[in-house]
C-alpha cells in the first residue's frame, strides 16, 4: 500500500490545492511501479494550514504555477523513495518514453515496461534483454497503434553515472543491434540507477515511469506477510 501526506504552511484555496495535488500525483505517485499491484488503501493527502502570512493562493494567483511545479517535483522525490525501497530491489530504473504521438500512449507504454515481471527479473539478473522490453511495448494497452511504428522505434539503456558511452543502443529504427557490446551492457546494468530509453519517433510527447527490479528478497518478504 502507498500512503502519504504532504503538508505546507502556505495558504492555498481548497480548490487550488485539489488541482495542485492531482497535477502532482499524475506526474509522480501515479508513475511508479514496484510490482504492478494496486492496493485497496492507496491515499495521498495534502494539508495547507496557511501559517505563512501571505495572500491565499488560488488558481489565478501568479504564484500558482510555481507552487504547482514545486509540489510536483517534491512529490516525485517522495514517490521515487518508494521505488528505491522496493522490498529488496537492487535497481532504480527510470523508463523514459519519448517522441510519442500522445502523452497518454507514452505513459501506457512506460507503465507496460515498468510492470513487466520479465523485464524486472532481467534487470535483477543484469541481462540486456531488449526482446522483453519490445514485447512489453507490443502488448501495451493502447487504444490504437498510431504512436507505434516498427521502423522508427529506438530502445537504449542509458548510464546515469557519467561514464561513456552514456547510451547503449539495443534497437535502432526497429532493427535489433545483434552485436551489442556485452561488456558495456554489463557495466550499465551493474549500476544501481539506470534508464531505459524508448524513442517512438512518431510525435513529440514524452512520459516517465520509475520502477525497480524484482529480487529473491521480494518473494521472501511477501511469501508470509499475513501469517
Amino acid at each position: 500500500t502507498l500512503l502519504g501526506f504532504i503538508v505546507t504552511d502556505l495558504p492555498i484555496k481548497s480548490s487550488a490545492l485539489k488541482s495542485i495535488l492531482t497535477h502532482a500525483t499524475n506526474r509522480s505517485f501515479n508513475c511508479i511501479s514496484v510490482d504492478g499491484d494496486m492496493s485497496t488503501n492507496d491515499t495521498i493527502c495534502m494539508i495547507a494550514n496557511g501559517a505563512v502570512e501571505t495572500k491565499e493562493i488560488d488558481e489565478t494567483s501568479q504564484e500558482y504555477v510555481q507552487v504547482q511545479n514545486q509540489v510536483t517535483e517534491f512529490a516525485q522525490q517522495l514517490a521515487q523513495l518508494v521505488v528505491r525501497d522496493g522490498e529488496g530491489s537492487t535497481k532504480f530504473v527510470t523508463v523514459k518514453v519519448q517522441n510519442s504521438l500522445t502523452f497518454e500512449d507514452a505513459k501506457i507504454i512506460a507503465e507496460s515496461i515498468s510492470n513487466s515481471l520479465l523485464v524486472k527479473t532481467a534487470l535483477y539478473g543484469q541481462d540486456a534483454n531488449w526482446g522483453r522490453i519490445l514485447c512489453a511495448i507490443g502488448y501495451a494497452k493502447l487504444d490504437n497503434l498510431k504512436s507505434l511504428n516498427v521502423d522508427k522505434i529506438n530502445v537504449s539503456f542509458i548510464a546515469t553515472d557519467g561514464s561513456e558511452p552514456k547510451e547503449l543502443k539495443l534497437v535502432v529504427n526497429g532493427v535489433p543491434q545483434l552485436e551489442i557490446d556485452e561488456a558495456r551492457a554489463s557495466e550499465i546494468l551493474n549500476l544501481n540507477d539506470l534508464e531505459i530509453s524508448v524513442d517512438l519517433g512518431t510525435g513529440t510527447e514524452e512520459a516517465q515511469f520509475w520502477t525497480c527490479d524484482i529480487s529473491h528478497e521480494y518473494v521472501t518478504i511477501n511469501g508470509d506477510y499475513r501469517t
Partner: protein, 206 residues
C-alpha cells in the same frame, strides 16, 4: 548482485535533519497492533489558528476501497476541503474488506481524535497493513490517549522521523522529505512529505 545488495538504503535515503512547516505537530507511539512492538500509530495535527486549513486527497481507484478511504473521501466532500486539522494513521492492519464494522471502526478512531482536539469531523483516517482483519480499536484508542495525554507531539526532526517510521509496514527505511522554497514576494514556505510503501505498489489514484 552482491555489490547491489550491500547498499545501505537507510543511510543513503533517510535525512539526518530538516526544516518543517510552521503550525504542524506530529506524535507517534507503539500501540501494540504490530506484534514486534515497533511504532505503529502516528497523528499529525494542525496547530495554526490564523485561518482554516485546506485539505485535498487522492485515493485508490481499486473497486474494493478500504474503510479509511471511504470515510476520508466522505469527510473531504462534506467539509468541501476545509477545516481538516488532523490525520491519524495506523500500520499493521489495513481495515480493508471489513465491511460496515470497518467503517464504524474508522469513525470511532477519528471521533476519538476529534474529541481530543475539541473539534468534529476534522480528522482523516488512514490505515495500512494486513487486509481482511478487523481494526484493533481498543489498542489504537489507548495509543491515541497516550499520544495526547502524555503530549507526545513535537515539531522537531526526531518527531517527524518517528512519525515516518510509525506508518511503515515492510518498508526497509522511513520516507521523509522536506524542503523550503521562496515565493516571488520573498516569503518562504515549507513542504514536508512522509510516505510509506514498499510492495503492492502501482498506484492509480484520483
Amino acid at each position: 548482485q552482491q555489490a547491489s545488495k550491500s547498499v545501505d538504503k537507510y543511510a543513503l535515503y533517510v535525512p539526518k535533519n530538516g526544516v518543517f512547516p510552521r503550525g504542524f505537530q506530529v506524535g507517534s507511539t507503539a500501540s501494540g497492533v504490530k506484534k514486534n512492538g515497533n511504532l505503529d500509530l502516528g497523528i499529525i495535527r494542525n496547530t495554526n489558528t490564523s485561518r482554516p486549513a485546506a485539505a485535498a486527497a487522492v485515493f485508490t481507484t481499486n473497486k474494493f476501497k478500504a474503510a479509511p478511504v471511504v470515510v476520508s473521501k466522505q469527510i473531504l466532500e462534506d467539509k468541501n476541503g476545509t477545516g481538516i486539522n488532523a490525520i491519524v494513521i495506523n500500520s499493521g492492519c489495513a481495515n480493508s474488506v471489513t465491511g460496515e464494522v470497518g467503517i464504524e471502526d474508522a469513525k470511532k478512531l477519528i471521533s476519538h481524535v476529534d474529541s481530543k482536539l475539541g473539534t468534529s469531523m476534522s480528522t482523516l483516517p488512514m490505515s495500512t497493513g494486513v487486509i481482511g482483519q478487523r481494526l484493533h480499536v481498543n489498542k489504537i484508542s489507548k495509543g491515541i490517549d497516550e499520544i495526547f495525554d502524555n503530549n507526545k507531539f513535537g515539531s522537531d526532526f526526531q518527531s517527524w522521523l518517528d512519525m515516518a517510521k510509525s506508518i511503515c509496514t515492510t518498508d526497509t527505511f522511513p520516507k521523509l522529505v522536506t524542503s523550503r522554497f521562496s515565493l516571488p514576494n520573498g516569503e518562504k514556505y515549507t513542504l514536508t512529505g512522509i510516505a510509506k510503501g514498499a510492495g503492492m505498489i502501482c498506484p492509480n489514484m484520483a
